[in-house]
Amino acid sequence: MSLLEIQGLGISFGGVRAVNDVSFSVKQGEIVSVIGPNGAGKTTLFNMISGVYQPGAGSVALSGEPVTGMEPFRLAQRGLSRTFQNLQIFQNMTVLENAVTGFHLQERGPVLADLFNLPGSRRRARQAEEGARALLARVGLERAADREAGSLSYGSLKRLEIARALAMQPKVLLLDEPAAGCNAVETEEIDHLIAEVAASGVAILLVEHDMKMVMRISNHIVVLDHGEKIAEGAPAEVSRNPDVIAAYLGTEAEHADG
Protein backbone atom coordinates (compact mmCIF):
# COMPACT_ATOMS: atom_id res chain seq x y z
CA MET A 1 0.00 0.00 0.00
CA SER A 2 1.30 3.47 -0.71
CA LEU A 3 1.80 5.47 2.46
CA LEU A 4 2.07 8.76 0.59
CA GLU A 5 -0.13 9.50 -2.40
CA ILE A 6 0.22 12.72 -4.38
CA GLN A 7 -2.52 13.54 -6.92
CA GLY A 8 -2.35 16.45 -9.39
CA LEU A 9 -0.59 18.75 -6.93
CA GLY A 10 -0.06 22.34 -8.09
CA ILE A 11 0.60 25.86 -6.82
CA SER A 12 1.04 29.30 -8.37
CA PHE A 13 2.88 32.29 -6.97
CA GLY A 14 1.63 35.56 -8.43
CA GLY A 15 0.44 33.92 -11.63
CA VAL A 16 3.60 31.85 -12.09
CA ARG A 17 2.96 28.14 -11.91
CA ALA A 18 5.71 26.87 -9.61
CA VAL A 19 4.38 23.32 -9.57
CA ASN A 20 1.75 21.95 -11.92
CA ASP A 21 -0.20 18.69 -11.86
CA VAL A 22 2.37 16.44 -10.18
CA SER A 23 1.29 12.93 -9.17
CA PHE A 24 3.19 10.00 -7.72
CA SER A 25 3.17 7.73 -4.67
CA VAL A 26 5.59 6.28 -2.14
CA LYS A 27 5.14 2.80 -0.69
CA GLN A 28 6.26 1.44 2.63
CA GLY A 29 10.02 0.84 2.70
CA GLU A 30 10.48 2.56 -0.64
CA ILE A 31 12.87 5.41 -1.45
CA VAL A 32 11.47 7.78 -4.05
CA SER A 33 13.66 10.66 -5.21
CA VAL A 34 12.53 13.90 -6.79
CA ILE A 35 15.18 15.36 -9.06
CA GLY A 36 15.33 18.24 -11.48
CA PRO A 37 17.36 21.34 -12.28
CA ASN A 38 17.49 24.27 -9.88
CA GLY A 39 14.15 26.04 -9.69
CA ALA A 40 12.25 23.01 -10.97
CA GLY A 41 9.93 23.21 -7.96
CA LYS A 42 11.27 20.39 -5.81
CA THR A 43 11.33 22.27 -2.52
CA THR A 44 7.99 23.91 -3.32
CA LEU A 45 6.57 20.43 -3.83
CA PHE A 46 7.99 19.38 -0.47
CA ASN A 47 6.54 22.43 1.22
CA MET A 48 3.08 21.59 -0.13
CA ILE A 49 3.28 17.97 0.96
CA SER A 50 4.46 18.92 4.45
CA GLY A 51 1.84 21.62 4.95
CA VAL A 52 4.14 24.64 4.85
CA TYR A 53 2.37 25.88 1.69
CA GLN A 54 -1.32 25.44 0.89
CA PRO A 55 -1.55 23.64 -2.45
CA GLY A 56 -3.54 25.48 -5.12
CA ALA A 57 -4.72 22.24 -6.69
CA GLY A 58 -4.58 18.51 -6.15
CA SER A 59 -4.47 16.32 -3.08
CA VAL A 60 -2.13 14.61 -0.65
CA ALA A 61 -3.07 11.41 1.17
CA LEU A 62 -1.25 9.85 4.08
CA SER A 63 -1.95 6.12 4.61
CA GLY A 64 -5.02 6.59 2.42
CA GLU A 65 -6.45 9.51 4.41
CA PRO A 66 -6.74 12.94 2.81
CA VAL A 67 -4.42 15.45 4.49
CA THR A 68 -4.18 18.17 1.83
CA GLY A 69 -3.10 21.53 3.24
CA MET A 70 -3.13 20.30 6.83
CA GLU A 71 -0.91 22.22 9.25
CA PRO A 72 2.56 20.70 9.75
CA PHE A 73 1.99 19.76 13.39
CA ARG A 74 -1.13 17.81 12.48
CA LEU A 75 0.75 16.00 9.73
CA ALA A 76 3.44 15.18 12.27
CA GLN A 77 0.79 13.65 14.50
CA ARG A 78 -0.22 11.48 11.55
CA GLY A 79 3.29 10.24 10.98
CA LEU A 80 4.85 12.61 8.46
CA SER A 81 8.23 14.07 9.24
CA ARG A 82 10.72 16.12 7.25
CA THR A 83 14.11 17.78 7.17
CA PHE A 84 14.95 21.08 5.53
CA GLN A 85 17.28 22.07 2.72
CA ASN A 86 18.41 25.15 4.64
CA LEU A 87 18.60 23.47 8.07
CA GLN A 88 15.98 24.25 10.70
CA ILE A 89 17.90 23.50 13.87
CA PHE A 90 17.01 24.90 17.28
CA GLN A 91 20.22 26.91 17.65
CA ASN A 92 19.26 28.02 21.15
CA MET A 93 19.32 24.45 22.48
CA THR A 94 21.87 21.69 22.99
CA VAL A 95 22.33 18.86 20.53
CA LEU A 96 20.58 16.48 22.91
CA GLU A 97 17.64 18.84 23.41
CA ASN A 98 17.26 19.16 19.65
CA ALA A 99 16.93 15.42 19.37
CA VAL A 100 14.58 15.29 22.37
CA THR A 101 12.14 17.70 20.70
CA GLY A 102 11.64 14.99 18.09
CA PHE A 103 9.95 13.02 20.86
CA HIS A 104 7.55 15.88 21.59
CA LEU A 105 4.43 13.91 20.70
CA GLN A 106 5.47 11.12 23.05
CA GLU A 107 6.74 13.25 25.91
CA ARG A 108 4.12 15.98 26.05
CA GLY A 109 1.67 15.93 28.93
CA PRO A 110 -0.33 18.23 31.20
CA VAL A 111 1.33 21.67 31.61
CA LEU A 112 0.65 21.66 35.34
CA ALA A 113 2.71 18.50 35.73
CA ASP A 114 5.58 20.25 33.94
CA LEU A 115 5.28 23.42 36.03
CA PHE A 116 5.38 21.57 39.33
CA ASN A 117 7.92 18.98 38.25
CA LEU A 118 5.56 16.08 39.04
CA PRO A 119 6.89 12.53 38.69
CA GLY A 120 4.92 11.98 35.47
CA SER A 121 6.60 14.96 33.83
CA ARG A 122 10.06 13.84 34.98
CA ARG A 123 9.44 10.32 33.71
CA ARG A 124 8.29 11.52 30.29
CA ALA A 125 11.28 13.82 29.99
CA ARG A 126 13.69 11.08 31.05
CA GLN A 127 12.29 8.56 28.55
CA ALA A 128 12.53 11.07 25.74
CA GLU A 129 16.10 11.85 26.73
CA GLU A 130 17.08 8.18 26.69
CA GLY A 131 15.48 7.77 23.28
CA ALA A 132 17.29 10.84 22.02
CA ARG A 133 20.68 9.60 23.24
CA ALA A 134 20.13 6.31 21.44
CA LEU A 135 19.29 8.19 18.24
CA LEU A 136 22.32 10.46 18.55
CA ALA A 137 24.45 7.34 18.84
CA ARG A 138 22.82 6.02 15.69
CA VAL A 139 23.81 9.11 13.69
CA GLY A 140 27.22 9.32 15.37
CA LEU A 141 26.61 12.42 17.46
CA GLU A 142 26.54 10.91 20.96
CA ARG A 143 29.74 12.66 22.01
CA ALA A 144 28.37 16.07 21.01
CA ALA A 145 25.15 15.61 23.04
CA ASP A 146 25.75 18.42 25.52
CA ARG A 147 27.23 20.92 23.10
CA GLU A 148 25.24 23.86 21.82
CA ALA A 149 23.70 22.91 18.50
CA GLY A 150 25.05 26.08 16.90
CA SER A 151 28.62 24.89 17.42
CA LEU A 152 28.30 21.78 15.20
CA SER A 153 29.66 21.45 11.68
CA TYR A 154 27.25 21.60 8.75
CA GLY A 155 27.41 17.87 8.12
CA SER A 156 26.75 17.11 11.79
CA LEU A 157 23.76 19.45 11.79
CA LYS A 158 22.35 17.57 8.80
CA ARG A 159 22.64 14.33 10.75
CA LEU A 160 21.12 15.97 13.83
CA GLU A 161 18.13 17.04 11.78
CA ILE A 162 17.67 13.50 10.53
CA ALA A 163 17.94 12.18 14.10
CA ARG A 164 15.26 14.63 15.20
CA ALA A 165 12.99 13.54 12.34
CA LEU A 166 13.56 9.86 13.15
CA ALA A 167 12.71 10.46 16.80
CA MET A 168 9.13 10.94 15.65
CA GLN A 169 9.09 7.36 14.34
CA PRO A 170 7.52 8.61 11.14
CA LYS A 171 5.70 6.50 8.60
CA VAL A 172 6.70 8.92 5.86
CA LEU A 173 9.98 10.83 5.90
CA LEU A 174 10.70 13.75 3.58
CA LEU A 175 14.41 14.54 3.21
CA ASP A 176 15.28 17.81 1.47
CA GLU A 177 18.88 17.59 0.24
CA PRO A 178 20.25 15.67 3.21
CA ALA A 179 23.72 15.43 1.66
CA ALA A 180 24.03 19.02 0.47
CA GLY A 181 27.26 20.58 1.70
CA CYS A 182 28.55 17.31 3.08
CA ASN A 183 31.89 15.77 2.11
CA ALA A 184 32.17 12.33 0.50
CA VAL A 185 32.51 10.47 3.80
CA GLU A 186 29.56 12.26 5.37
CA THR A 187 27.47 11.68 2.25
CA GLU A 188 28.16 7.98 2.43
CA GLU A 189 27.16 7.89 6.10
CA ILE A 190 23.88 9.64 5.34
CA ASP A 191 23.39 7.31 2.40
CA HIS A 192 23.65 4.24 4.69
CA LEU A 193 21.39 5.82 7.25
CA ILE A 194 18.65 6.49 4.69
CA ALA A 195 18.82 2.94 3.34
CA GLU A 196 18.61 1.59 6.88
CA VAL A 197 15.58 3.73 7.72
CA ALA A 198 13.81 2.64 4.54
CA ALA A 199 14.59 -0.99 5.35
CA SER A 200 12.79 -0.51 8.68
CA GLY A 201 9.58 0.16 6.72
CA VAL A 202 9.51 3.95 6.43
CA ALA A 203 8.40 5.49 3.14
CA ILE A 204 11.10 7.98 2.10
CA LEU A 205 10.76 10.87 -0.29
CA LEU A 206 14.09 12.44 -1.14
CA VAL A 207 15.21 15.60 -2.90
CA GLU A 208 18.90 15.44 -3.68
CA HIS A 209 21.40 16.97 -6.07
CA ASP A 210 24.05 14.32 -5.61
CA MET A 211 23.14 12.14 -8.62
CA LYS A 212 25.42 9.30 -7.65
CA MET A 213 23.63 9.01 -4.35
CA VAL A 214 20.20 9.28 -5.96
CA MET A 215 20.97 6.57 -8.52
CA ARG A 216 22.44 4.32 -5.85
CA ILE A 217 19.69 4.35 -3.25
CA SER A 218 16.42 5.21 -5.02
CA ASN A 219 13.82 2.63 -5.96
CA HIS A 220 11.94 5.14 -8.04
CA ILE A 221 12.75 8.57 -9.43
CA VAL A 222 10.42 11.45 -10.31
CA VAL A 223 11.90 14.14 -12.56
CA LEU A 224 10.58 17.71 -12.39
CA ASP A 225 11.33 20.52 -14.80
CA HIS A 226 9.66 23.95 -14.71
CA GLY A 227 7.25 22.59 -12.11
CA GLU A 228 6.00 19.68 -14.22
CA LYS A 229 6.71 16.01 -14.00
CA ILE A 230 8.61 15.16 -17.18
CA ALA A 231 9.54 11.57 -16.38
CA GLU A 232 9.49 8.88 -13.74
CA GLY A 233 10.69 5.35 -13.30
CA ALA A 234 13.54 3.21 -12.05
CA PRO A 235 16.96 4.94 -11.86
CA ALA A 236 18.27 3.17 -14.98
CA GLU A 237 15.23 4.14 -17.09
CA VAL A 238 15.24 7.73 -15.97
CA SER A 239 18.92 8.25 -16.66
CA ARG A 240 18.36 7.16 -20.27
CA ASN A 241 15.26 9.25 -20.82
CA PRO A 242 15.94 11.89 -23.53
CA ASP A 243 13.65 14.51 -21.88
CA VAL A 244 15.60 14.18 -18.65
CA ILE A 245 18.91 14.50 -20.42
CA ALA A 246 17.62 17.58 -22.24
CA ALA A 247 16.42 19.16 -19.00
CA TYR A 248 19.78 18.60 -17.37
CA LEU A 249 22.03 19.46 -20.27
CA GLY A 250 20.33 22.79 -20.65
CA THR A 251 18.70 25.09 -23.08
CA GLU A 252 20.33 24.12 -26.36
CA ALA A 253 18.45 20.87 -26.55
CA GLU A 254 15.24 22.73 -25.73
CA HIS A 255 15.84 25.23 -28.53
CA ALA A 256 16.54 22.44 -30.97
CA ASP A 257 13.19 20.88 -29.99
CA GLY A 258 11.11 24.01 -30.34
Binding site: A76, S81, I89, Q91, M93, T101, H104, E107, V111, M168
Partner: protein
Amino acid sequence: MRISTKYWTLLFLAALIAVTPFFFPSGYYFRVGSLLFVNGLAVTGIVILTGYAGQISLGHAGFAGIGGYACALAPVHWGVPPALAVVLGAAVSGVLAYLVGRPILRLKGYYLGVASLGFGILVAMVLNNERALTRGPDGIEVPDLGLRGLLKDWGLNLTNGEFWYVVTGICLLIGAWIALNLHSSPTGRALRALHGSEVAAGTVGIDVARVKLQAFVISAIYASVAGSLLALQNKFITPDVAGFLHSVEMVTMAVLGGVSSVPGAILGAGVLTLLPQVLTVFAEYEQLILGLVMMLVMIFLPEGLVPSILRRLRGRDE
Protein backbone atom coordinates in the same frame (compact mmCIF):
# COMPACT_ATOMS: atom_id res chain seq x y z
CA MET B 1 23.42 17.62 35.79
CA ARG B 2 20.62 20.01 34.91
CA ILE B 3 18.70 19.13 38.05
CA SER B 4 21.59 20.08 40.28
CA THR B 5 22.02 23.37 38.40
CA LYS B 6 18.39 24.13 39.10
CA TYR B 7 18.62 23.43 42.81
CA TRP B 8 21.94 25.25 43.14
CA THR B 9 20.30 28.30 41.62
CA LEU B 10 17.36 28.10 44.02
CA LEU B 11 19.62 27.44 47.00
CA PHE B 12 21.80 30.41 46.13
CA LEU B 13 18.75 32.62 45.74
CA ALA B 14 17.29 31.40 49.04
CA ALA B 15 20.60 31.99 50.84
CA LEU B 16 20.83 35.48 49.39
CA ILE B 17 17.30 36.30 50.53
CA ALA B 18 17.96 34.89 54.01
CA VAL B 19 21.41 36.40 54.63
CA THR B 20 21.25 39.93 53.20
CA PRO B 21 18.90 41.29 55.95
CA PHE B 22 21.75 40.90 58.45
CA PHE B 23 23.56 43.66 56.57
CA PHE B 24 20.59 46.02 56.36
CA PRO B 25 21.48 49.33 57.99
CA SER B 26 17.81 50.16 58.58
CA GLY B 27 14.31 48.71 58.35
CA TYR B 28 13.76 50.68 55.16
CA TYR B 29 15.79 48.15 53.21
CA PHE B 30 13.26 45.39 53.90
CA ARG B 31 10.88 47.43 51.84
CA VAL B 32 13.38 47.86 49.00
CA GLY B 33 14.05 44.11 49.18
CA SER B 34 10.39 43.15 48.90
CA LEU B 35 9.95 45.58 46.02
CA LEU B 36 12.87 43.87 44.30
CA PHE B 37 11.30 40.43 44.86
CA VAL B 38 7.95 41.54 43.47
CA ASN B 39 9.67 42.90 40.38
CA GLY B 40 11.71 39.69 40.17
CA LEU B 41 8.52 37.64 40.19
CA ALA B 42 6.91 39.66 37.38
CA VAL B 43 10.10 39.47 35.36
CA THR B 44 10.33 35.70 35.85
CA GLY B 45 7.03 35.53 34.00
CA ILE B 46 8.60 37.57 31.20
CA VAL B 47 11.41 35.00 31.04
CA ILE B 48 8.85 32.29 30.30
CA LEU B 49 7.11 34.32 27.60
CA THR B 50 10.06 36.12 26.02
CA GLY B 51 13.11 34.12 27.06
CA TYR B 52 11.68 30.64 26.54
CA ALA B 53 8.98 31.15 23.89
CA GLY B 54 10.46 34.20 22.14
CA GLN B 55 7.22 36.22 22.25
CA ILE B 56 7.21 39.87 23.22
CA SER B 57 4.52 41.51 25.31
CA LEU B 58 4.35 45.23 25.96
CA GLY B 59 1.21 45.01 28.03
CA HIS B 60 1.99 42.78 30.94
CA ALA B 61 1.48 45.63 33.39
CA GLY B 62 -2.21 45.27 32.47
CA PHE B 63 -2.21 41.91 34.22
CA ALA B 64 -0.36 43.39 37.20
CA GLY B 65 -3.12 45.99 37.34
CA ILE B 66 -5.80 43.32 37.34
CA GLY B 67 -4.01 41.44 40.11
CA GLY B 68 -3.57 44.60 42.14
CA TYR B 69 -7.12 45.90 41.77
CA ALA B 70 -8.53 42.43 42.48
CA CYS B 71 -7.01 42.79 45.97
CA ALA B 72 -8.41 46.29 46.33
CA LEU B 73 -11.93 45.62 45.06
CA ALA B 74 -12.85 41.99 45.73
CA PRO B 75 -12.55 42.19 49.56
CA VAL B 76 -14.55 45.43 49.75
CA HIS B 77 -17.27 44.68 47.22
CA TRP B 78 -17.74 40.94 47.45
CA GLY B 79 -16.27 40.11 50.83
CA VAL B 80 -13.55 37.93 49.36
CA PRO B 81 -10.62 37.49 51.80
CA PRO B 82 -7.53 39.34 50.43
CA ALA B 83 -5.51 36.11 50.09
CA LEU B 84 -8.27 34.62 47.92
CA ALA B 85 -8.43 37.88 45.97
CA VAL B 86 -4.87 37.16 44.81
CA VAL B 87 -6.09 33.85 43.39
CA LEU B 88 -9.15 35.49 41.90
CA GLY B 89 -7.00 38.15 40.22
CA ALA B 90 -4.69 35.46 38.86
CA ALA B 91 -7.68 33.55 37.50
CA VAL B 92 -9.15 36.64 35.82
CA SER B 93 -5.73 37.50 34.35
CA GLY B 94 -5.28 33.95 33.11
CA VAL B 95 -8.69 33.89 31.42
CA LEU B 96 -8.16 37.34 29.88
CA ALA B 97 -4.72 36.33 28.64
CA TYR B 98 -6.30 33.29 27.05
CA LEU B 99 -9.03 35.31 25.34
CA VAL B 100 -6.66 38.06 24.19
CA GLY B 101 -3.84 35.72 23.23
CA ARG B 102 -5.88 33.15 21.33
CA PRO B 103 -6.46 35.20 18.18
CA ILE B 104 -3.12 37.06 18.32
CA LEU B 105 -0.72 34.21 18.93
CA ARG B 106 -1.67 32.49 15.70
CA LEU B 107 0.06 35.33 13.90
CA LYS B 108 3.81 35.50 13.55
CA GLY B 109 6.09 38.44 14.24
CA TYR B 110 5.39 41.50 16.35
CA TYR B 111 1.60 41.29 16.42
CA LEU B 112 1.65 40.14 20.02
CA GLY B 113 3.82 43.08 21.04
CA VAL B 114 1.47 45.60 19.45
CA ALA B 115 -1.76 43.90 20.50
CA SER B 116 -0.61 43.42 24.09
CA LEU B 117 0.40 47.07 24.14
CA GLY B 118 -3.20 47.88 23.27
CA PHE B 119 -4.45 45.54 25.96
CA GLY B 120 -2.29 47.19 28.64
CA ILE B 121 -3.44 50.66 27.66
CA LEU B 122 -7.04 49.48 27.73
CA VAL B 123 -6.71 48.14 31.27
CA ALA B 124 -5.03 51.36 32.44
CA MET B 125 -7.82 53.38 30.81
CA VAL B 126 -10.55 51.38 32.51
CA LEU B 127 -8.81 51.73 35.89
CA ASN B 128 -8.44 55.48 35.35
CA ASN B 129 -11.96 56.15 34.17
CA GLU B 130 -14.25 53.75 36.03
CA ARG B 131 -14.20 56.09 39.02
CA ALA B 132 -17.30 54.60 40.59
CA LEU B 133 -15.44 51.32 41.06
CA THR B 134 -11.73 52.17 41.04
CA ARG B 135 -11.80 55.78 42.22
CA GLY B 136 -9.76 56.78 39.21
CA PRO B 137 -6.20 58.08 38.88
CA ASP B 138 -5.82 58.93 42.58
CA GLY B 139 -5.78 55.28 43.49
CA ILE B 140 -7.54 53.22 46.12
CA GLU B 141 -6.69 51.65 49.49
CA VAL B 142 -6.10 47.92 49.67
CA PRO B 143 -7.22 45.96 52.75
CA ASP B 144 -4.67 44.26 54.97
CA LEU B 145 -3.76 40.68 54.12
CA GLY B 146 -4.36 39.77 57.77
CA LEU B 147 -1.62 37.19 57.92
CA ARG B 148 0.79 39.34 59.93
CA GLY B 149 -1.74 39.68 62.76
CA LEU B 150 -2.27 35.94 62.66
CA LEU B 151 1.48 35.33 62.96
CA LYS B 152 1.61 37.72 65.92
CA ASP B 153 -1.06 35.66 67.65
CA TRP B 154 1.19 32.65 67.18
CA GLY B 155 4.06 34.51 68.79
CA LEU B 156 5.92 35.52 65.63
CA ASN B 157 6.25 39.26 65.80
CA LEU B 158 7.46 40.81 62.54
CA THR B 159 7.51 44.43 61.48
CA ASN B 160 5.50 45.22 58.37
CA GLY B 161 8.72 45.52 56.33
CA GLU B 162 10.10 42.22 57.61
CA PHE B 163 6.81 40.45 57.03
CA TRP B 164 6.56 41.52 53.39
CA TYR B 165 10.23 40.79 52.82
CA VAL B 166 9.61 37.18 53.88
CA VAL B 167 6.31 36.76 51.99
CA THR B 168 7.56 38.21 48.70
CA GLY B 169 10.87 36.36 49.08
CA ILE B 170 9.03 33.05 49.40
CA CYS B 171 6.75 33.91 46.47
CA LEU B 172 9.80 34.73 44.34
CA LEU B 173 11.43 31.42 45.25
CA ILE B 174 8.27 29.51 44.32
CA GLY B 175 7.99 31.46 41.08
CA ALA B 176 11.62 30.79 40.21
CA TRP B 177 11.22 27.11 41.07
CA ILE B 178 8.21 26.79 38.73
CA ALA B 179 9.97 28.63 35.90
CA LEU B 180 13.08 26.49 36.28
CA ASN B 181 10.95 23.33 36.32
CA LEU B 182 9.33 24.44 33.11
CA HIS B 183 12.68 25.12 31.42
CA SER B 184 13.73 21.50 30.90
CA SER B 185 10.25 19.97 30.95
CA PRO B 186 8.51 18.78 27.77
CA THR B 187 6.43 21.98 27.58
CA GLY B 188 9.46 24.18 28.23
CA ARG B 189 11.40 22.43 25.50
CA ALA B 190 8.51 22.95 23.12
CA LEU B 191 8.52 26.66 23.99
CA ARG B 192 12.24 27.03 23.44
CA ALA B 193 11.97 24.99 20.25
CA LEU B 194 9.43 27.37 18.74
CA HIS B 195 11.70 30.23 19.78
CA GLY B 196 14.48 28.59 17.76
CA SER B 197 12.40 27.81 14.67
CA GLU B 198 8.63 27.88 14.40
CA VAL B 199 8.72 25.88 11.16
CA ALA B 200 10.80 23.10 12.68
CA ALA B 201 8.71 23.12 15.84
CA GLY B 202 5.65 22.47 13.70
CA THR B 203 7.27 19.58 11.88
CA VAL B 204 8.05 17.74 15.13
CA GLY B 205 4.37 17.98 16.04
CA ILE B 206 4.43 20.98 18.36
CA ASP B 207 1.12 22.85 18.23
CA VAL B 208 2.86 26.22 18.11
CA ALA B 209 -0.24 28.38 18.66
CA ARG B 210 -1.26 26.29 21.65
CA VAL B 211 2.05 26.31 23.52
CA LYS B 212 2.51 30.04 22.83
CA LEU B 213 -0.87 30.60 24.44
CA GLN B 214 0.17 28.51 27.44
CA ALA B 215 3.28 30.64 27.89
CA PHE B 216 1.24 33.83 27.59
CA VAL B 217 -1.29 32.69 30.19
CA ILE B 218 1.41 31.52 32.61
CA SER B 219 3.35 34.77 32.35
CA ALA B 220 0.14 36.78 32.78
CA ILE B 221 -0.49 34.94 36.04
CA TYR B 222 3.03 35.82 37.22
CA ALA B 223 2.40 39.50 36.48
CA SER B 224 -0.98 39.34 38.18
CA VAL B 225 0.39 37.80 41.39
CA ALA B 226 3.20 40.37 41.40
CA GLY B 227 0.63 43.15 41.05
CA SER B 228 -1.40 41.69 43.93
CA LEU B 229 1.66 41.47 46.20
CA LEU B 230 2.59 45.04 45.36
CA ALA B 231 -0.91 46.29 46.17
CA LEU B 232 -1.14 44.31 49.41
CA GLN B 233 2.21 45.44 50.74
CA ASN B 234 1.65 49.09 49.83
CA LYS B 235 -1.95 48.88 51.07
CA PHE B 236 -2.65 51.24 48.21
CA ILE B 237 -2.72 51.04 44.42
CA THR B 238 -2.98 53.48 41.53
CA PRO B 239 -3.64 52.83 37.83
CA ASP B 240 0.08 53.46 37.17
CA VAL B 241 0.73 49.82 38.04
CA ALA B 242 -1.04 48.92 34.77
CA GLY B 243 0.65 51.69 32.79
CA PHE B 244 2.77 51.38 29.70
CA LEU B 245 5.94 52.43 31.57
CA HIS B 246 5.54 49.55 33.99
CA SER B 247 5.21 47.09 31.04
CA VAL B 248 8.36 48.46 29.48
CA GLU B 249 10.12 48.34 32.83
CA MET B 250 9.39 44.60 33.13
CA VAL B 251 10.81 43.87 29.70
CA THR B 252 13.82 46.11 30.35
CA MET B 253 14.65 44.34 33.60
CA ALA B 254 14.45 40.95 31.91
CA VAL B 255 16.56 41.98 28.96
CA LEU B 256 19.19 43.69 31.13
CA GLY B 257 19.80 40.61 33.27
CA GLY B 258 19.35 38.06 30.50
CA VAL B 259 15.88 37.26 29.26
CA SER B 260 16.53 33.55 28.71
CA SER B 261 17.74 33.00 32.25
CA VAL B 262 15.67 33.06 35.44
CA PRO B 263 18.54 34.16 37.74
CA GLY B 264 19.57 36.67 35.09
CA ALA B 265 16.15 38.27 34.93
CA ILE B 266 15.97 38.44 38.71
CA LEU B 267 19.36 40.13 38.74
CA GLY B 268 18.07 42.56 36.12
CA ALA B 269 15.09 43.30 38.37
CA GLY B 270 17.55 43.77 41.23
CA VAL B 271 19.75 46.20 39.36
CA LEU B 272 16.88 48.32 38.10
CA THR B 273 15.17 48.32 41.50
CA LEU B 274 18.33 49.23 43.41
CA LEU B 275 19.97 51.66 40.99
CA PRO B 276 17.33 54.38 41.43
CA GLN B 277 17.75 53.99 45.23
CA VAL B 278 21.50 54.41 44.94
CA LEU B 279 21.21 57.15 42.39
CA THR B 280 18.98 59.37 44.53
CA VAL B 281 22.27 61.03 45.48
CA PHE B 282 22.62 62.10 41.84
CA ALA B 283 18.90 62.77 41.55
CA GLU B 284 19.29 65.00 38.51
CA TYR B 285 21.35 62.49 36.61
CA GLU B 286 19.40 59.36 37.61
CA GLN B 287 17.71 58.80 34.24
CA LEU B 288 20.92 59.63 32.42
CA ILE B 289 22.95 57.05 34.34
CA LEU B 290 20.20 54.41 34.01
CA GLY B 291 20.10 54.93 30.27
CA LEU B 292 23.88 54.76 30.03
CA VAL B 293 24.00 51.49 31.99
CA MET B 294 21.35 49.99 29.70
CA MET B 295 23.22 51.03 26.59
CA LEU B 296 26.56 49.72 27.81
CA VAL B 297 25.08 46.37 28.79
CA MET B 298 23.32 45.97 25.45
CA ILE B 299 26.49 46.88 23.54
CA PHE B 300 28.96 44.77 25.49
CA LEU B 301 26.74 42.02 26.92
CA PRO B 302 23.92 41.73 24.39
CA GLU B 303 22.54 38.51 25.86
CA GLY B 304 22.11 40.24 29.21
CA LEU B 305 24.30 40.20 32.32
CA VAL B 306 24.08 36.61 33.53
CA PRO B 307 24.17 34.62 30.24
CA SER B 308 27.02 36.77 28.86
CA ILE B 309 29.11 36.42 32.00
CA LEU B 310 28.45 32.66 32.23
CA ARG B 311 29.52 32.26 28.62
CA ARG B 312 32.78 34.10 29.27
CA LEU B 313 33.51 32.00 32.34
CA ARG B 314 32.84 28.80 30.43
CA GLY B 315 34.94 29.99 27.52
CA ARG B 316 37.84 30.51 29.91
CA ASP B 317 37.49 26.97 31.28
CA GLU B 318 37.82 25.30 27.90
